[in-house]
């Protein structure tokens, strides 16, 4: 194994993670959660239209490959006159994707909160939205942390697909160095290792958040 190459490529790869992979994942996850919340609220609303739109959205996102979604936005849309740069294309595709998956997580979490909590919120005079924000979502958050962590960890790894639409994230850096040095095994294992370390850190963070949100339930 060529340790010199390992060490000399570690810097560029980490830079790719810090400037590409991590911000891409964070931005897409934040936007995705907003979309998910909106879609989840549509899915539990009494409006047939809102419900239907939400359902079709979730179905489309879950029923088509992420890579295809990415290509439609970056390579497909220019054909109808919509040209979007690599970075925004990636963020749009990833956040739409996260939105579809996380919407179902959040919807299920909202439904897991007992009906009596809605009633108690209404009893003290809260509107539906106030009850949702102050009473229901904080309780739903607790249940949704484990599945949302899964979504986030998947997203971190999925950002490697952005290399295929010319976003300079970690895996694209790895591909470039590998092509130049012909050390494919070394570079791809090195990239895999960095993904793994990031995901380990996320798992630790998940445990902490769960502990914090568990402080108000019996053990």
């Amino acid at each position: 194994m060529d340790f010199d190459l390992f060490w000399s490529s570690l810097g560029p790869l980490l830079l790719g993670a810090v400037k590409g992979t991590i911000p891409l994942a964070l931005a897409s996850f934040a936007l995705g959660l907003l979309i998910a919340l909106l879609v989840a609220v549509m899915r539990i609303s009494t409006s047939k239209l809102a419900n239907g739109v939400g359902r079709v959205y979730v179905s489309l996102i879950r029923g088509t490959p992420l890579l295809v979604q990415l290509f439609v936005i970056f390579y497909g849309l220019p054909a109808v006159g919509v040209k979007i740069d690599p970075w925004p294309s990636a963020i749009i595709a990833f956040s739409l994707n996260v939105g579809g998956y996380a919407a179902e997580v959040i919807r299920a979490a909202i439904l897991s909160v007992p009906q009596g909590q809605w009633e108690a919120g209404h009893m003290i005079g809260m509107s539906r939205n106030q009850t949702l924000l102050r009473i229901i979502l904080p309780q739903a958050a607790r249940v949704s942390v484990p599945p949302l962590s899964n979504t986030f960890i998947s997203l971190v790894k999925d950002t490697s697909l952005a290399s295929l639409i010319l976003v300079t994230e970690m895996f694209r850096v790895a591909q470039q160095v590998a092509a130049f040095s012909q050390e494919f095994m070394l570079l791809y294992l090195e990239a895999a290792m960095i993904y793994w370390v990031i995901c380990l850190a996320l798992s630790t963070a998940q445990t902490r958040v769960e502990k914090r949100l568990d402080r108000y339930v019996a053990h």
Binding site: P114, M123, I124, I135, V217
Partner: protein, 267 residues
């Protein structure tokens, strides 16, 4: 009783869930400072009436009027204009909100907010909804918690309390809203037997203080001690009503007699 003295007037309240009719034209009057106990077998409609008085169910027909007079005979709570909800027409969310501003409910299963401390549970409505000054609300909440012996628990979460303690917090949460009408939905039926008395004692105290209350209960002894009037319901209608001692000791209707006999035999 003059009509202005009435805190609650219910007229012709009817409600169906699909093909199942649970209320068939109920009338109910609660004078200021009086306690009415609703008793009857499960499915008789008593809980549905109570929930209608807090807008948690919307009846199909009839009306509910909450008078301008206070909920206690001493009238410590703010006076609000008289309000009538006519369920024959469509009631707006605004009207439902106005009804909830006047009545407060204590739930069978407490329904405290598990992610909030005891104090937060109590002040959430007055601060967030009624927009009253936080310091003032906290001072009142502390005084109420002291009254029910739970001041030391103000920073605990509901899961750290016994059922009886949780229900007393539920009562304080309702009182903090300064309603004109207090509603109790089987407040002790989810409690272990040894915890029932503490909660009943608090409710009795509120009755003695002159709060206007409607209580759905299976505790006949408690109803006899606390209620001014007992209303026995079955199959969505009022079968018998009258002074507590009369309905519970010398019921006139056969259905009432059967129900009371069965309940006494269970004990």
């Amino acid at each position: 009783m003059s009509p202005t003295d009435s805190v609650l007037q219910v007229r012709g309240l009817s409600k169906s869930f699909g093909a199942n009719t649970v209320l068939r034209g109920i009338d109910l009057d609660v004078p200021r400072g009086k306690v009415v106990a609703l008793i009857g077998p499960s499915g008789s409609g008593k809980t549905t009436i109570l929930r209608s008085l807090n807008g948690l169910e919307l009846p199909d027909a009839g009306s509910v009027t909450v008078g301008a007079s206070g909920g206690t005979s001493t009238g410590v709570e703010p006076q609000r204009p008289s309000l009538t909800l006519d369920f024959d027409a469509k009631v707006s969310p605004k009207e439902v909100a106005a009804l909830r501003d006047r009545s407060a409910m204590v739930f069978q299963h407490y329904n405290l907010f598990p992610h909030m401390t005891v104090l937060q549970n109590v002040i959430e409505g007055p601060v967030r909804v009624q927009k009253r000054p936080r310091a003032e609300v906290v001072a009142e909440a502390d005084a109420l918690l002291k009254r029910v012996g739970l001041f030391e628990k103000r920073d605990s979460y509901p899961f750290e309390l016994s059922g009886g303690q949780q229900q007393r917090v539920g009562i304080v949460r309702a009182l903090a809203l300064k309603p004109q009408l207090l509603l109790f939905d089987e407040p002790t039926s989810a409690l272990d037997p040894e915890l029932v008395d503490d909660v009943l004692a608090v409710i009795k105290e509120l009755a003695d203080e002159g709060w206007t209350m409607v209580i759905v209960t299976h505790e006949l002894a408690f109803a006899r001690q606390t209620a001014d009037e007992v209303v026995f319901m079955d199959g969505g209608v009022v079968v018998e009503r009258g002074p507590a001692s009369q309905v519970l000791r010398k019921p006139q209707e056969e259905r009432t007699q059967q129900f009371i006999r069965r309940l006494l035999h269970e004990i």
